[in-house]
């Protein structure tokens, strides 16, 4: 292969593997690794987009609750509008690696629209708890997540009260005191999913202690503006111990726990394995995981350094080794077609139909990240169906040119040949998007 071809293949690979697919004819990076590294510098451009913050979302939720049963209208409107903004950003951003990292971390710290109270604040959560820290320190992201109303409400921490808290001991306001008590949902998922993982060998006692640390971290819905709040009245007094680490009473307990858990070697390994699985291979090679974990340890959890380490892995440059998730697939098709905003397909609906509704994971462990999770027969058939449907929007496009721009030398002869023999432009474009290469990144 000629030198220029190799260069263009490497650039296209970087756009697919680490980005969201090439947008139309956007310039190919001369040096793929520099192009990726540059995206980690500076503030996230998506923070400049218009969107509602958590307080505005909670006001809407409060109004919806007041109106009663059918009253999720205001919350849902906020979610729909801000999600549309977000997906338009994914379809057009010139920092797609940055965006992929945002979605990776948002999935790591999953909140889901399946819980009504998450609906009005899910987008604000991304802006406030995830985006500011994607190139910062993991401890800061963890701290922001655990104190954010979206997570507090999603994992039921709002009313979790210590058994020896002032409110529980008063116990007199019977309806209040007697009924308030501990909820260990957030504590368990924090240990299992967000930080150390079961590999750390924590016990039920550790989960219970972590739940006590988290008592009091709540949401003040009736305050103006509404938002997250630490309620000393339901916080469990006294020192707690999680994985042998003593944690003081009060709000400092969570700060100490976050610092301890974020720095734990088991957390570094857990995060490294997930990053490598997401960006490199379904079965993360052990040396790659060890390398990224070491970078996390040496940099005290610098997520930009971890991202650079993943890009630097030789195994990350094997083309088309990963299957695209439905989210990635839909965005990549839209970018390849590069249609004006009004001509784009409805991305949120498409993602739902293909099995990955936005911010709507079934469980707190988020969306899966391997080919076998996304390649069931019906799931792949639905991509084929959608490829046919969306190709109808490409009337003005030259299919061969779209293929060359999006995949270039990565497109196999078989697919190229079928496109040449297609009976219509629509069919040729549908074959490109339904073909095997486009399912991969």
């Amino acid at each position: 292969m000629c030198h220029g071809c190799a260069m263009s293949q490497r650039g296209l690979h970087a756009m697919n593997r680490f980005g969201l697919g090439r947008r139309g004819g956007e310039p190919l990076p001369g040096d793929a690794q520099s192009w990726l590294a540059a995206q980690l510098e500076g503030a996230d451009p998506a923070l400049a987009l218009a969107a509602r913050d958590t307080a505005e979302g909670l006001v809407a939720w409060r109004e919806d609750l007041r109106r009663g049963n059918d009253g999720v209208q205001a919350s849902r409107a906020i979610m729909q509008e801000d999600t549309a903004t977000l997906l338009d950003h994914a379809a057009t951003t010139d920092r797609p690696f940055r965006e992929r990292l945002v979605w990776f971390w948002a999935n790591h710290f999953t909140v889901s629209l399946r819980r009504g109270a998450v609906v009005p604040v899910a987008n604000a959560y991304l802006r406030e708890a995830i985006r500011p820290h994607v190139t910062g320190r993991f401890a800061d992201m963890l701290g922001a997540v655990l104190r954010h109303p979206a997570m507090i409400q999603y994992l039921d921490n709002t009313q979790s009260a210590g058994p020896d808290s002032p409110a529980a001991l008063r116990g007199t306001g019977a309806a209040q005191g007697a009924r308030m008590g501990l909820n260990e949902n957030l504590a368990r998922e924090c240990l299992e999913l967000h930080t150390v993982s079961p590999a750390a060998g924590y016990s039920q006692a550790d989960v219970g202690q972590m739940a006590l640390v988290l008592t009091g971290w709540s949401v003040a819905l009736q305050r103006d503006p509404p938002g997250a709040l630490f309620r000393p009245g339901i916080h469990q007094p006294g020192i707690k111990t999680v994985l042998g680490q003593a944690l003081p009473a009060g709000p400092e307990g969570l700060a100490t726990a976050v610092a301890f858990l974020a720095r734990h070697p088991a957390t570094h390994r857990h995060l490294a394995a997930k990053l490598v699985r997401h960006f490199v291979a379904d079965e993360p090679p052990e040396p790659a995981v060890a390398h990224v974990a070491a970078v996390l340890r040496e940099t005290d959890g610098d997520l930009a350094a971890a991202a650079r380490a993943v890009v630097g892995l030789a195994q990350a440059w094997e083309p088309l080794a990963k299957l695209r998730s439905p989210f990635d697939f839909v965005v990549a098709v839209v970018r390849a077609m590069d249609l004006p905003a009004e001509a784009r397909p409805r991305m949120r609906e498409a993602m739902a139909t293909l099995g990955q509704p936005v911010m709507n994971a079934p469980l707190p462990n988020g969306w899966p990240d391997t080919a076998k999770d996304w390649a069931s027969p019906e799931a792949v058939m639905r991509r084929v169906d959608w490829a046919w449907a969306v190709a109808a929007r490409g009337a003005g496009l030259e299919p061969a040119a779209v293929a060359d721009r999006a995949l270039g030398p990565l497109l196999g002869e078989a697919t190229r040949g079928e496109m040449m023999r297609a009976g219509s432009h629509r069919e040729a474009l549908a074959l490109l998007f339904a073909g095997p290469e486009f399912q991969r990144r």
């Binding site: 399946r114 994992l155 039921d156 709002t158 009313q159 979790s160 009260a161 009924r179 308030m180 008590g181 501990l182 909820n183 260990e184 949902n185 368990r188 299992e192 999913l193 079961p198 039920q204 989960v207 299957l323 139909t353 293909l354 099995g355 079934p362 469980l363 707190p364 462990n365 080919a371 076998k372 999770d373 390649a375 069931s376 027969p377 019906e378 799931a379 792949v380 058939m381 639905r382 084929v384 169906d385 959608w386 046919w388 449907a389 078989a414 697919t415 079928e418 009976g423 069919e427 549908a430 074959l431 339904a434 073909g435 095997p436 399912q439």
Partner: protein, 400 residues
Amino acid sequence: MHLPTRRTTLLGLAGAVMAGPASLALAAAPTGQRLVVVILRGALDGLSAVVPYGDGALAGLRGALVPPEPGREGGLLDLGGFFGLHPALAGVHAMFQAGEAMVVHAVAGSWRNRSHFEAQDWMEFGAEQRLDSGWLNRVAGALAAGARPAKGADLALAVGSLMPVLLRGPAPVGNWLPPSFSVPAGDFYTRVAALHGADAVTGPAVAAGLRERGFAGATLGREPGVEGRAAERFGFPALAAAAAKLLAAADGPRLAALELGGWDTHANQADRLAGPLRQLDAGLVALRDGLGEAWRRTAVLVMTEFGRTVRVNGTRGTDHGTGTVAFVLGGRVAGGRVRGDWPGLAPGQLFEARDLAPTTDLRGIAKGMLAAHLGLAPEVLAQVFPGSAAALPMAGLLRA
């Protein structure tokens, strides 16, 4: 003792339909018997589904979470004087009274970790380790081993877009979902399938997808429920009805996996549990009704990854626990009974002072069904559930 009455053709049918919290997967096998496994993801509170209202310790532990006793308005549906079904399970109650539904109480798998994700994996792999297949896929493989494959056909169908671990593995399994896009004409799909032929991941998926759609389209008639809201088209009762129709067909799949979520009731449990229970109830009734004549050759296992804490937590919900219930339903089931050794709820009787103590191993129930209903031999059961020698197949699940 049961021998398969006839062999059905081996279809390339396995798959999974998922929308919202519900999904369905099916597999063909050379037997006239049908086996349906319903996975309740998120940990069903067994003490709310099948309430031991006769246990004197219950009221003190559960308080407002306990519905009124049988006979009172909105009260429990009695199962013989000690246990009562949640009022949302009226259809199951009718099956219980007809002798076609059995409850096993104080059930748990071998795991004690209280993690949804690990526990669901172990429940579906059939062992506390990651195997290359789920246990129902191994059942499909075992049933096919002695059979001569029909031409061009695979072995299994799921209805849904995600394939549950339970059915993953080497025995071919596909899936099916009600169609929702305009369909291209001509040989478009054939050409796409050819392009994917060399891809080890998407190649088999496209091939299986095409076969399943052909079968499902022919069996279900016109595109089912193209009109109607997504929740109705894809909801658990609708998927159960579709599964029943596919399973009932002479040349249809014989194994199915359905799943339903919404059970992780950490807060406001009384309000949040009724909806999923009603869905489950309607789905089980739809299965029975849709199977028609084939219901008497059908066994259904309803299982969840673990139970929930005996005490109410601080937010009127319950946290992750251990012992829970399982349901066994079907035309041949020796129903009308609540089985299992009741461990009691008094102080000292709880597991780790917080959970319903498990007295029946979930694997023993599954093994009992596979032995009695599908005629699997002990050495096959040992492969389906490796390392489960201590969990003896439960006897007496089916009527003689």
